[in-house]
Amino acid sequence: MALHFELVTPAKLVRSEDVHMVVVPGAEGEFGVLEGHAPFMSTIRDGAVQVFKTEGAAPETIEVRGGFAEVGDNGLTVLAEHVEA
């Protein structure tokens, strides 16, 4: 099973895919989210979201600015105000 990851900005849905792990720059420190993470919500600081497609693969980084992350039953949703293309 993989983690469902969504990255949304006001302008559009940037990502919606199944990945292995995502590391999010939370306001109180980075945290990694794997499949089956407990429900969690955090604001995020400006920084890079690292997306690991598969275990051990090199991460893909996406710069995000302002927003928050929510982990629920249906995976991780990052609502960012701005995404560096």
Partner: protein, 289 residues
């Protein structure tokens, strides 16, 4: 009776007007598709944000709720944020908006409230200023950017929140058109500040952990929510502008066509009449010899 030359010039001028309206119609149709796509793309963010809002707002309530959610405790001073277009040639869209805003303002004034306006876009400025000369507060200019986007929405929202924090008003309403189709754009009035408490508070059994805390998150979330609302209104106005423009220009093109036909008939008739008169003159002259 207009002379032949006058008629011909008139036909020519109507024809060139028709060319302009036709071009504008086609441009609007192309832009409408883009504006609708943009509105479509913005939906997921707004949906998720209000879902999160609903979950949080039901948890944080009572006295520790932030001011943006709980209100100032008074409902005396109202701010009407009216979103208009910057350009004309879009039928009755702007006048409908102005009328809706004016009706709301009069209703509030009749109830003994103070009303002030915050205007976005150029076209609403003049008529509202005429109707309510002393109540126009701020004006946000969107005419310099080609397509108002999230950045503009963010600066409008920041300004509103600042005014709110400074105690300039108690309740803000957003007046904007809802794009239904190219034919119908209904003016809508929504309260944006204080943020209306979501009614659909779904209870999830899962214990959600918050970082930093529920209140801190909510405090950050509320201005963001206001921004999203305004962004939504900007997208609606763009789609509505193009839709209304398309319909209005389609009508104008058709009317111009009708007018051209009418004028052409008139032109041909007078030409024929002139020829007939000339012939009669010649024949009469020949008979007299």
């Amino acid at each position: 009776m207009a002379s032949l030359k006058e008629l011909k010039d008139r036909i020519g001028s109507v024809k060139s007007t028709q060319k302009i309206t036709k071009a504008k119609q086609m441009v609007a149709a192309a832009k409408l598709r883009k504006a609708q796509a943009a509105a479509e793309e913005a939906r997921p963010y707004a949906e998720r944000l209000s879902a999160v809002m609903a979950a949080l707002a039901s948890k944080v309530s009572g006295d520790d709720a932030p001011k943006l959610l709980a209100g100032t405790g008074s409902d005396k001073r109202h701010l009407l944020v009216v979103v208009n277009t910057d350009k004309g040639l879009c039928g009755g869209l702007n006048s409908n908006l102005v009328r809706a805003a004016g009706a709301k303002a009069r209703e509030l004034t009749a109830a003994g409230k103070d009303v002030e306006f915050y205007l976005v876009g150029k076209k609403g400025r003049a008529p509202l200023k005429r109707a309510f000369p002393n109540q126009i507060g701020h004006h946000f200019d969107t005419s310099e950017v080609r397509t108002p986007g999230f950045e503009e929405a963010a600066s409008i929202a920041d300004e509103l929140v600042e005014l709110y924090d400074a105690g300039k008003f108690d309740i803000a309403h957003l007046v904007y058109p809802t794009f239904k189709s190219a034919l119908a754009q209904d003016p809508t009035i929504d309260q944006i500040i204080p943020v209306p408490s979501p009614t659909t508070a779904e209870d999830s059994d899962a214990v959600v952990e918050y970082e930093p805390g529920e209140e801190e998150i909510l405090e950050e979330l509320l201005p963001r929510y206001v921004k999203t609302q305004i962004f939504g209104a900007l997208l609606e106005i763009m789609a509505s502008e193009q839709g209304a423009s398309m319909t209005a220009m389609d009508n104008a093109t058709r009317n111009a066509g009708d007018l051209i036909n009418k004028l052409t008939v008139q032109y041909n008739r007078s030409r024929q009449a002139a020829i007939t008169t000339e012939l009669i003159e010649i024949i009469a002259g020949a008979e007299a010899l």
